[in-house]
Symmetry: C2
Subunit: 495 residues, 2 copies
């Protein structure tokens, strides 16, 4: 057996892994030391050239060489000054559990590729369904994230609400002779994956009606009811309402209970995208914000956001298992009927995928190790950090807060002396922080239709902080805000 | 900081991981020892009850407890008698590389979540494009597997061939006033994900025309040309031809060059599903079987099959990057235009996902460590094993071979004295092997339309061996065939 041919499984697998894991740990530490900050102080071109050099000049020991390069060239969410995205620093215990999954490689498309993983995923999903407030008739699956979960929700909605049996083609598109035009309703601040899913499903992006939001970017439930009424008045077919529990940029949570009512009235499927806000269910303090989530027909949760799992750790749940009907599949090589009758369960019909990694395992280990209370403390810690940072922004003469954080993120901007330069300076200061390796700060825009907000809409740059590292200290945050302000001053005084 | 709250990243991450990884390695070894075979000798019900007991009786140390339970309760592809599915035993070096990805948690939806991972994925994709024979205008992305890759190919085909701009709704469904009916052509033996994708995309499962296969389950290129001609004659619109390079059950490879010609003639997108057979590109001996693959508009490859990666390691490639147009997305918080102009690249528009794990990294480390030649030796070793086992089946008085292996898998069955009992006995002997923990053998059926094959079609059980463990020995295979025959005898003599 030549170098690199050892397998990770079997009785000898652990022994084969041991020296390789030592190499990885050493390389991770070396890369982090060399980076010495949240992100390497390089432009994208410089970093690419550097990595190309590593790849062309090294002569072996690739596991260590490339791992050190990956670690050096990472935006490390475990660094308190890496605070841009819903990109969490994973818990070491979750990462260690994920190693077991890589080593054993169970695949959840059939029982005989994943006997224990099938059991563990099923019981984790039951636990998560209880967390959402669903009863015992719930069902679900692990996904690659909110984008896939939102697609699944809209797919089931399309097939059920349009009354199509599994796999029939969509004929309802407003053509002469066709049925009523299908519509999906989501707030202006909903994730772009809703429109992407509508396109993928053949409904078309413009099937999505953008419902106005309030200043905190919450869907206006009255406007939703009006939009549904108007749509029905035009003879259209409301397929789904997508309510967001935790928008990507501000963590805004739509009034779920108030959204459920008009959705039900017009026969639309209610999908709640709680990819970010689902983490609030772990916190006694924040869980009440998600009041009404159990009324949803389907829910997206992402434990690689407010759950400290390495990606992917998405979850899709439906309130009633029977609504999964249109995805059910029988593949003679995976779930033959007589095997199912003989007691061999199959999860194939719950997923859009076939081969499927056991992402449930790391979540199960984490939940057991920390408990809901332990994870809730981490959620609360990040919420506290966001409130502290927002207060710091409010108190700073050159920084301007958009709104108080709901969960663990908020928008702000550097206030330029000349308002006309605001967008250019804010965009440039963020790139300066990246290039200098000082901080990773997010940026975004406010929805165009935002009532009463000056400078909302396309091209009007807002900065964003997303606090997902519970070990960040208040002095880290002071340092972060000073760095942002200093970069703003440097850009403003530049050409 | 209480137990379990340590993070995997930062300068201290490696130190926090070290004791946890030791726990995992010990538990992996303990679970494998306790299993003492390819799968635990338990029925699904017994295993579930056992795992529930572990979960209710343990009081802590969950990482070790649950890892040992997962390892014990796995179907371990590193055991030579686990040979059912395209479910490979991962290389230890790939698993170690995947640990680095879990620990650092890069997400490829924006540069500032994955600076180095963005560079490494881009250069890996260029290398894989060259392996396929594509030129420099190719593009692609890592996927969760062939099912997602096949969906992407059909989605691009739908949007390009039907001439729809990004995100428009599908209006072509044979309604009065609608355009011509869209059609997808794939062999009878193509993977079920083709039909699933057609349903998801709103084309409908019955948009898929099943083209006849020969006895080795290769698409009949003449029949494809005829099907395209007849479809065009009915005024339909051929959207795509899906050719398979390595069917799941027999590894059959459609004649790619001969399929490309009629596809081009009728303006259909050619997608080659090489999820399994793509591994043959690593072998000088087998690569010629994929002659013509570079003519495809898009290709699926799965390195978690003949590539010895832990799932997921799917790859989707297109020959011409510009055909990706309908997936391009701008998300103001991920890839603002001025950041791209300033040199910050974005891979967002290449994927159906948003958050995306750096699955390219383990593949890159493996390719560097073993080289194409080293991986090719593993492919050839599995091919040799399949041929040896097939010869053993042919020589066995109670076993009946379907056809010689093309890649590393083949079908066979236990020959019952009473042919009427064949299906029941073959199905039962497989479950017996699972229940007794002796072997994991696959089962499937032959396509209904298979010319001249007695006992093809629904309910006619065939057994399957898929040899993906290059360290398996010929005496392991002798033992495996003896176990199958003994289980068949036990079932046949039973009630």
């Amino acid at each position: 057996m030549t170098e690199g041919e050892a397998l990770s499984g079997g009785v000898g697998g652990a022994g084969a892994l041991e020296p390789l894991l030592r190499t990885v740990l050493d390389a991770l530490a070396e890369g982090a030391r060399r980076r010495a900050g949240p992100i390497p102080a390089r432009t994208p071109g410089e970093l690419a050239a550097e990595l190309d050099r590593v790849a062309s000049e090294s002569a072996g020991g690739w596991l260590g060489v490339l791992t050190a390069a990956l670690a050096y060239g990472s935006a490390d969410p475990a660094d308190p000054l890496c605070a841009a995205h819903l990109h969490c620093p994973p818990l070491a215990v979750a990462v260690a559990a994920d190693l077991a999954v890589s080593a054993l490689n169970p695949s959840l498309d059939s029982w005989d590729q994943a006997p224990a993983a099938t059991v563990l995923e099923t019981s984790l999903l039951a636990e998560l369904a209880r967390l959402v407030g669903y009863g015992t008739s719930a069902a679900g699956v692990l996904t690659s994230g909110g984008t896939e979960s939102n697609l699944m929700g809209l797919m089931l909605a399309r097939d059920l609400v349009l009354g199509r049996a599994s796999g029939e083609r969509i004929e309802l598109s407003g053509l002469p002779g066709g049925g009523p035009r299908p519509r999906v309703f989501a707030s202006e601040a909903a994730h772009f994956s809703t429109r992407r899913a509508a396109a993928l499903l053949g409904l078309g992006e413009d099937a999505v009606v953008a419902v106005p939001v309030d200043r905190e970017l919450r869907m206006d439930a009255g406007a939703l009811a009006a939009a549904l009424r108007e749509s029905a008045g035009r003879g259209e077919r409301p397929v789904a309402v997508v309510a967001t529990a935790g928008t990507t940029d501000t963590g805004a949570i739509d009034p779920l209970r108030e959204c459920a009512e008009p959705a039900a009235e017009y026969g639309a499927w209610l999908h709640v995208d709680a990819a970010y806000g689902g983490g609030a269910l772990l916190s006694d303090r924040l869980a009440p914000l998600l009041d009404g989530i159990a009324l949803a027909d389907s829910v997206s949760l992402d434990w690689h956001k407010l759950g400290w799992q390495p990606a992917a750790a998405g979850v899709f749940l439906v309130r009633r298992a029977e609504t999964y009907a249109s995805l059910a599949r029988r593949a003679v090589y995976l779930n033959p009927a007589d095997d199912e009758e003989a007691g061999y369960p199959s999860l194939l019909g719950y997923s859009l995928r076939t081969t499927r990694r056991a992402d449930a395992f790391k979540i199960a280990v984490t939940l057991r190790t920390l408990g809901r209370a332990g994870l809730g403390r981490l959620v609360d810690a990040c919420h506290d950090l966001a409130r502290y940072a927002a207060a710091g922004v409010r108190a700073h003469p050159r920084l301007e807060l958009h709104a108080e954080p709901v969960l663990t993120a908020f928008l702000f901007r550097y206030a330029t002396a000349d308002p006309a330069r605001s967008d250019a300076v804010n965009a440039a200061l963020r790139r300066r922080l990246l290039r200098e390796g000082t901080a990773v700060v997010g940026r975004t825009e406010l929805p165009e239709g935002l009532a009463g907000e000056p400078g909302a809409g396309p091209g009007r740059v807002r900065l964003k902080l997303t606090l997902l590292n519970p070990h960040t200290t208040t002095s880290d945050l002071d340092r972060l805000l000073r760095a942002v302000a200093a970069a703003g001053e440097a850009e403003e005084s530049g050409p």
